[in-house]
Symmetry: C2
Subunit: 225 residues, 2 copies
């Protein structure tokens, strides 16, 4: 058995979404004991500048903070990097420039799973939509992108970030997914890592792609390579 | 609002238990948004030498690895340290000697919650029992310690470490707790952080203290102090 490479996680956006991603890293690998797992170094930093404000030019760029986190994880021994926040991928180039480590791109990992879709409902916050992080690669595959009602997504993400993952929040998530399906989406991408905390496949009328699971699978594959 | 101090987590023993501890850190604090959370740095290292083998002098000490992890977390910016593994607390002095940071002791945090008990059933692995990590402080409070059937605990912990937290594992955990209660325990301590993954209060016939929750609460209190 070859030892897996050490994974560095640029996290905290939000903290609960990072724990959900770590849970996926830990539970997506068949293991017989502790030693079957990779070493995982995590920087869960909830003080990274706000991604939505930065994209609207009403706040500082998160790029320098993300680059510093990447360098810190590399100094600790990380051999590859992953970041379970979609909006922050708008500053992925700052991370790539900060260290020579491979950066496992959540957008690319997710888009690879979307091939064959006709129209995708994209549950994402404004920074992800406005930066067209998913629009570009999905449209290049001939896939139509259907945007959600932005206020509904912003309100739901704020609820999750306040620790509310209860029945009301779950119902709101289902309503967003159902509205996208009603408008023609044959798949839904939970393109904000807070969303899978309140939206599972059982609540979604069409196949659901969780970006956090796509990233976990791609990260574990890269750690084994 | 005073910013919380950065928490360093010496983890990976096991990896799933560390994620459970992080989940408790993230969900035990009332927050209104991401920024209400502390920064958390984690070294989830499943390659720390085996604690049971070390205590039986049949394997190397985990002390140097734990000390190195503590130094790495301190270098990254951790301001206090916590370690969600009971057996590894047998080497807590190596961690305390490695950095000047406060080390939040899981045994002390748990024992503080045990005051008033008459007899405690201690679900723990051999290294924790043989080092008498809990026996000493509990007996000093006049509390009788009732040990579990060691083979049953070892088998259950091995199942959890292999990723099995299903109904069979949960039934085995309940059987261990019930046997301790039948022998006179008026409380049970889940003194192995893998145990709460398969034993909740609803499955335990007497009040259950989860060491991972005691440590999460003590760590958050220390981060706010």
């Amino acid at each position: 058995l070859t030892q897996l490479r050490t994974i560095g996680v640029i996290g905290g956006m939000g903290p609960a979404a990072t724990v959900d991603f770590l849970q996926r890293l830990v539970s997506s690998l068949p293991v017989s004991d502790d030693r079957g797992h990779p070493r995982i170094l995590v920087d869960s930093n909830p003080h990274v500048p706000d991604r939505n404000a930065a994209l609207q030019a009403s706040g500082p760029s998160p790029g320098p903070a993300l680059a510093a986190m990447a360098r810190g994880l590399a100094a600790q021994g990380a051999e590859l990097l992953a970041m379970p926040c979609n909006a922050a991928h708008g500053w992925a180039d700052d991370i790539r420039a900060a260290t020579p480590l491979p950066f496992i791109d959540m957008v690319a990992a997710t888009v690879a799973l979307a091939r064959g879709a006709g129209a995708i409902g994209l549950i994402a916050v404004a920074a992800t939509l406005d930066a067209r992080l998913y629009h570009g690669p999905l449209e290049a595959l001939g896939i139509v992108v259907i945007e959600p009602e932005r206020r509904a997504v912003a309100e739901l993400v704020a609820r999750v970030k306040a620790g509310d993952t209860g029945a009301g929040a779950r119902a709101a998530a289902t309503a967003i997914a159902e509205a996208l399906a009603a408008r023609g989406a044959d798949r839904v991408i939970a393109a904000c890592t807070d969303i899978p905390l309140v939206l599972g496949q059982g609540q979604c009328p069409v196949p659901l792609i969780a970006t956090s699971q796509a990233l976990a699978d791609a990260t574990l594959a890269a750690a084994a390579a």
